[in-house]
Subunit: 201 residues, 2 copies
């Protein structure tokens, strides 16, 4: 690659970042149906036709955003769990801290993933739900392990993970970076709730 | 009132119900920004100008819907608590069951209240947030009472109510009337979680 085409490639990749950041802002502010491709192009400081070079439709932008967000959230959570020892309670705390930290670092992504997924057509939504279920499965597996090992005593081993994650999703709605708690304090608080919900005693 | 004007009045009131039911469906399916007044009029089986006789704008419809939903949710919850004895744990369980039951009976309302509030302009949103805070305050007060009485031992007495209600809000997303649990079983499950979160022991 010569210098000129390398520069162009860098520029295209950079503008791809800008496109997705702009789409995320627009969806968070106006909702999927409220945001137009023109809004997104304006925020990205590019022409509408240039935006269409990046993404053939608004749905494609949302699918790409939610897919990336989900896989990043998944890998952060799995990575954290892989550092924990064999005890289910430690794994649950690590998973919860990492899951919450991701939301705290990407509150707009979490908000849009939570509220705009339902507007996608069936096929894309199904695939995204499957991807999201893999993330939930990390928690479900830890709960099952803990119950089998006699560490956890919840009477709801099949439901508790889903409900814990609903509680975490709420963070995206009330979190303010200038609020009274640091990110670590919030993550710690939710790890504490997680242990109470699975009834480790 | 003669018979004819009484009939007309009944018809106007009935169509008001239809307008709000149609607006709720449209907002749940397409989002506040995605739904147009024409969509709502079509669903209600009336002309656009007739719809404007009921509500001057789409925002007014959403504000009215969320206001009514919130006050109904509030009164159901308060009413249930007023039947409980003095023990904080009983009050918390009663409040949680009633709160959850309302969501189970009005899942679209709960969904729209949860996801579309942020699209309203500042003044209406502020007033609705105040109304919603009154509902949250029922739970906050019970938690404070329980902590003072030595019944609850949560280290997060100021936050736990909000997080419990986030968990309840998630129900509107996964609940299916033909799912494996009855409404009472779901309400019972969440009352159980509530007691674990406040750490009654």
């Amino acid at each position: 690659m010569n210098e000129r085409s390398s520069k162009r490639r860098t520029k295209v990749l950079a503008s791809r970042e800008v496109v997705f950041a702009s789409a995320l802002q627009a969806f968070a502010e106006l909702g999927f149906h409220g945001a137009s491709m023109r809004d997104i192009a304006n925020r990205a400081g590019m022409s509408l036709s240039n935006l269409y070079n990046h993404a053939p439709s608004k749905s494609d932008l949302l699918v790409e955003l939610l897919k990336t967000a989900n896989y990043n959230h998944l890998s952060e959570t799995e990575w954290a769990v892989s550092a924990a020892g064999p005890k289910a309670v430690d794994r649950l705390e690590m998973a919860t801290r990492a899951y919450v930290n991701y939301i705290l670092q990407h509150p707009l992504e979490a908000l849009v993933a939570h509220t705009e997924l339902r507007y996608l057509d069936n096929d894309a939504r199904k695939r995204l739900v499957i991807a999201r279920d893999r993330l939930e499965a990390i928690f479900e597996n830890i709960v099952q392990e803990g119950v089998r090992a006699g560490e956890f005593h919840t009477p709801y081993p099949d439901d508790v993970a889903r409900n814990l994650l609903s509680m975490c999703a709420g963070i995206a709605e009330w979190y303010r970076p200038d609020g009274p708690m640091t990110r670590d304090q919030i993550a710690e608080q939710f790890a504490h709730y997680a242990v109470r919900l699975v009834e480790q005693h």
